[in-house]
Amino acid sequence: MMKINVILPAVLLAFGLTALSSCEDGISNVSTAEAAKDITGSWKVVQLTRNGEDLSQRLDLTDFRIDFNPDGTYTLAEQLPFIANAPGTYSLSDPQYPFALILKPEGVQEDVVARFQFPVVEGERQLSLSFSLGCESNVYQFNFERENQDL
């Protein structure tokens, strides 16, 4: 009887420790780090608002796209109402929790900054940029979707 009293707790403890350690393994295998935001690719405008007024249906947005390249450069389609009017380099204010997209257009001394959001809308990742083009009182929001690279 004495033997059982000693052995049973020991066995249970051993099982428990094994279970606990496997739990730890399981937990430690789940990455809790926020993924770095990857915006590389070709993006097309799907919605454009000015001071909250939706202009998407009234403007021809078909040629409105921006390419963010893996080497940190970006290119624009020609002649667009955008905060930068030349290609250059880009970066995010923070790799994991960015609130701003920072562009350095070629030939421009100062950075140009757009408010950055990266929501998922109807299952599609969107790149949402807000900024002023002319007067500061006019705020534009451009919502982009990634273009299908196969097309």
Binding site: R50, R58, L59, P81, L133, G134, C135, N138
Partner: protein, 329 residues
């Protein structure tokens, strides 16, 4: 239902009935405003709001609140910086304080200024370049039954540097009532007659009268996306009964030299019919005129035409072109 629950329910209904019977009859009297007909640019002008309180409260109950007052003025007046609101009443006088942007109006969930804009809009004005600014008395005041008073709120404000015609908005309210949409007793709103600012340089900004043609936003630069509207319902013109309206437009630099002209009747210049005899065209001026990087447009001159380009309508239905000046201030 348990007796205790039933008693609580009755108490609740009784309190509700009490509030409905007695407090609903409490409120503010109609708001009237004294606004001069006109002022010179940059003049400091005084507007006066007249209202009153009519507390109808079951004795010995009281009603304690702070006075709210709001103004709706053109953004270009920069009233947040230079307007001063004071109030005079039998219960006390004082200077009102602008409610901070960070303070949320509880019913709408947005700040007080935006809540007022959402609730009262721009009244009888037709073009929106206005802001509502809401102020509150620093002290609270307690009212007893039938303690009727009249009070005035004086608004001193500089009228800005632009020639304009506008109808200004005014509001008085009770702080503890917030901006409840259904409330008609504790929030009183009035819009002035047409107020004119004269003596400045530049185009007259007419917020009040229907415009044959206009460009929005009111303030923009050539890198903004602008919307040009033509309202054929304003008056009879050479373009009556035309199904398609086109734009012919010139752009000028700061020195007044012509930069470019678009004079064609194509999809590029055709306005979209949006119903009600109104037509519009959105465009980005820098792209529309295919500008070089170092070129800047200061001013536009334009006409609306028929499909042949021979019938055209200009400012005030004359041969003068409509004009638009790019600026932010």
């Amino acid at each position: 239902m348990k007796p205790v629950t039933r008693t609580l329910l009755y108490c609740y209904l009784a309190v509700g009935l009490f509030v409905t019977l007695f407090l609903v009859h409490c409120g503010l009297t109609a708001l009237t405003v004294t606004v001069p007909e006109q002022a010179m640019v940059n003049e400091r002008v005084t507007f006066v709001m007249h209202s009153g309180a009519e507390p109808r409260i079951e004795e010995p109950g009281t009603y304690t609140t702070q006075l709210l007052a709001g103004i709706m003025v053109p953004k270009s007046w920069n009233a947040r910086e230079n307007a001063v609101l004071t109030f005079t009443s039998p219960k006390g006088n004082g200077t009102m304080r602008m409610i901070p942007n960070s303070e949320i109006e509880p019913v709408s969930g947005v700040n007080w200024h935006q809540a007022a804009k959402n609730m009262f809009g721009i009244g009888p004005n037709l073009v929106d370049d206005f802001e509502w600014i809401v102020y509150r008395s620093p002290q609270s005041y307690t009212f007893r039954n039938n303690e009727d008073i009249s009070f005035d709120v004086n608004v001193e404000c500089n009228v800005g540097a632009e020639n304009m015609l506008a109808r200004l908005g005014f509001y008085v309210g009770s702080s503890i009532e917030n901006l409840r949409p259904e409330d008609t007793d504790y929030k009183k709103v009035a819009f002035s007659q047409v107020f004119e600012v004269t003596g400045g340089e530049g185009d007259l900004i007419d917020f009040v009268n229907p415009q044959l043609a206009a460009i929005q936003p009111v303030r923009s630069l050539d890198n903004d996306i602008i919307t040009l509207t033509f309202d054929a319902g304003v008056t009879h013109t050479a373009l009556d009964n035309q199904e398609d309206i086109y734009l012919t437009i010139k752009c000028f630099d700061e020195a007044g030299a012509l930069i470019a002209e678009v004079n064609e009747q194509t999809d590029k210049t055709r306005l979209t019919d949006i119903g009600g005899k109104r037509f519009l065209l959105d465009f980005w001026p820098r792209g529309y005129f295919n500008l070089e990087k170092d070129q800047r447009i200061a001013r536009l001159e334009y006409y609306c035409t028929d499909a042949t380009g021979t019938q055209r309508v200009g400012y005030g239905n004359t041969e003068e072109p409509f004009t638009y000046t790019f600026r932010c201030q």
